[in-house]
């Protein structure tokens, strides 16, 4: 969001609100189109993942803080929400379910306030290491402090036992979905607004150049601390939503895997634009749900996608998309598209080869047949090995040639766009 212009032509303002309204409308309509229980569950999980990834981007994208322990706030938010729900039921407090994520947020926030000052003293690699250590500390402690975290089993709750609101019991998944969607919209607006405040802009400055920030009157430590607290709050909201959705909070919420997933989502989506983490959360959650049923080694695919993004497109998917904006504006995009089309076939072949290789290794012992694009491959058969090798080597070699052509076409198109006065 750093590059957005500050004085927009009238049309841009309209488009800006249009995008938000479209998003809200989509959230309302989605469950009417895809109304099966499975898709409702998926939508709910994606909504939670988006809030979580956006909160993470307050750190990584906005302030330049790489955290390996962000799930701590998510998890503590989940536990706070569970305890709050149980307390509401036990004491008959008049607090209906839709307010519970707020307490989740407070759970994440309180921990951020307590630990954040020490953690944010230093940025960069040191912060990354410390966040990892604190993450492990909290995850391990949660197994010791059984009265709070419920040990291995976790803390369970019953969301339907809370006071009703508008006559909704929040038993059916559809109602939970709308609750999540409501908080998603609220959190997204709040987090977007945060990027447009003095603190949000100074966070960007701290990300770009913490040294210089000190010479325009700001203490980068305070800026990092405040950003950390906000990120902790919204991660807690996401954790609270998860607690409502699953009616349980356990130590897995706090753990390294959850922290890794949110890092993957945010980075794959792209940290430089506000909508990047949204894309990433949708994609990663969708893949996670979709791949688990297809392959036992789905996490390996995540790792490979992630490494690919880090090496070849550090701006993530959003960065890739936004690269095309100046070309679209300058009208030179069509000169690039043919080279894309040429690259599709060898790139897909390469991807198939890699998938075939991985699945062959993964299923070698079990002997399950690999079903790729409708063709069955036996992992023990040499035909499979040869196909995999041919696809990887041949696809790889040809793909490299076509990629080079894309790069050349790109350079030409970008030069024209630059000459026409569009930044590229």
């Amino acid at each position: 969001m750093t590059l957005t212009s500050t004085s927009k032509p009238a049309g841009d303002g309209l488009r800006f609100y249009g995008v938000w309204l479209l998003g809200i409308a989509a959230l309302i309509v989605l469950p009417m189109i895809f109304s099966s229980g499975g898709s409702l569950t998926s939508f709910s999980l994606i909504g939670i993942a988006i809030v979580f990834a956006l909160s993470y981007n307050i750190l990584l994208g906005q302030t330049g803080l790489l955290s390996f322990g962000h799930a701590v706030h998510y998890g503590l938010g989940g536990f706070a929400a569970c305890h709050m729900m149980n307390a509401v039921v036990a004491h008959k407090w008049p607090i209906p379910l839709p307010f519970i994520p707020l307490f989740g947020g407070l759970g994440g926030l309180v921990f951020a306030i307590v630990i954040g000052w020490v953690m944010t003293k230093r940025a960069g690699t040191v912060f990354a290491m410390i966040s990892l250590g604190i993450g492990e500390l909290v995850a391990s402690s949660s197994l010791i402090l059984r009265s709070v975290f419920g040990g291995e089993a976790g803390i369970t709750t019953d969301r339907t036992a809370l006071p009703k609101m508008f006559g909704w019991s929040f038993g059916p998944q559809l109602q939970v979905y709308y609750l999540i969607a409501f908080w998603l919209v609220l959190s997204a607006i709040a987090m977007y607004a945060l990027t447009r405040t003095p603190l949000g802009r100074i966070s960007n400055a701290v990300r770009d150049n913490p040294e210089r920030v000190q010479f325009i009157g700001y203490d980068p430590h305070v800026v990092r601390y405040l950003a950390f607290c906000f990120a902790g709050f919204f991660a807690g909201v996401a954790g609270g939503l998860a607690a409502i959705n699953f009616e349980i909070a356990n130590s897995a919420y706090l753990g390294a895997i959850q922290s890794g997933l949110v890092l993957f989502s945010t980075f794959i989506g792209g940290t430089a634009y506000f909508f990047g983490p949204i894309l990433g959360a949708i994609l990663v959650t969708y893949l996670q749900l979709g791949l688990t049923s297809l392959t036992s080694v789905w996490q390996l695919y995540f790792g490979i996608i992630f490494i690919g993004i880090v090496m070849f497109s550090p701006g993530g998917i959003a960065g890739l998309l936004m690269m095309h904006r100046p070309l679209v504006r300058a009208g030179t995009l069509r000169t690039v598209i043919p080279s894309y089309l040429v690259a599709v076939v060898p790139t897909v072949a390469l991807a198939c080869g890699v998938i075939l290789t991985i699945e062959t290794v993964a299923r070698f012992a079990g002997g399950d047949v690999i079903n790729l694009l409708g063709i069955g491959f036996k992992p023990a058969s040499p035909t499979t090995w040869i196909s995999a090798a041919v696809l990887v080597v041949g696809g790889g070699l040809i793909a490299r040639l076509t990629w080079r052509r894309i790069a050349e076409a790109w350079d030409r198109a970008a030069t024209v766009a630059r000459d026409r006065g569009y930044l590229a």
């Binding site: 447009r196 802009r201 100074i202 150049n209 040294e211 210089r212 009157g217």
Partner: protein, 256 residues
Amino acid sequence: MSGAVSGQSAAIEVRAVEKRFGNVSIIRDLNLSVAQGERHAIIGPNGAGKSTTFNLISGHIKPTSGEVKLNGEVISGLRPFEINRRGLSRSFQVTNVFARMSVWENVRCAVLWATGHRYAFWKNVDSLPEVRERTAKILDDIHLMHRRDVPAGLLTYAEQRELEIGITIASGATVVMLDEPTAGMSNAETERAVALIRRLTEGKTLVIVEHDMSVVFGLADRISVLVYGHIIASGTPEEIRRDPKVKEAYLGEEAH
């Protein structure tokens, strides 16, 4: 050391400052006084400690011993942002901007603290009229309004130097320190930059490190000559030009 205007404390007063790294003294017994409203240039051969002097005054590094005062108040030992809030702003020799942010954002961030918005997270930064006006005025002053939406990292070198000056003066600090603002510029660019500096520091105290002698003698009211971490002479351009010690240690070297 003459310099303090009577009845009013000096803008900057450096007294007996020493800076050691390990056993090596980079700066020793440094004394410097810059009067209110004065344009003061620090010159000296490479490695004399000019940038270190800047770093010591602006809080970037802490002196091993000695004292620095800003408008009569001790600032040595304070952190850079605390010194900045007391009205001293500095630029950097190596361009030091916010590379991924637009030119407009660069200047606006430098305006925010001084306009009292600090760490506010409840205000829309786009709807703060005084911030917008001040940012716009500075962009006009440094002739970068037409580049307002360009990421600072993509500016040309000369433009980045101008932005550097813009960020430095944006807070409205009364004491401005510029570290080689024209380094690496062409003659035409230098001329433009000098005119810019002259205009923007009107009525302010200016401390400038500069290699280009025409810039120094054209701009400065007073000059201090720094050699091996020690000020060997301080005076008006005329006095400096005539000072035999300076000729020997510095200008003579230039004349070769």
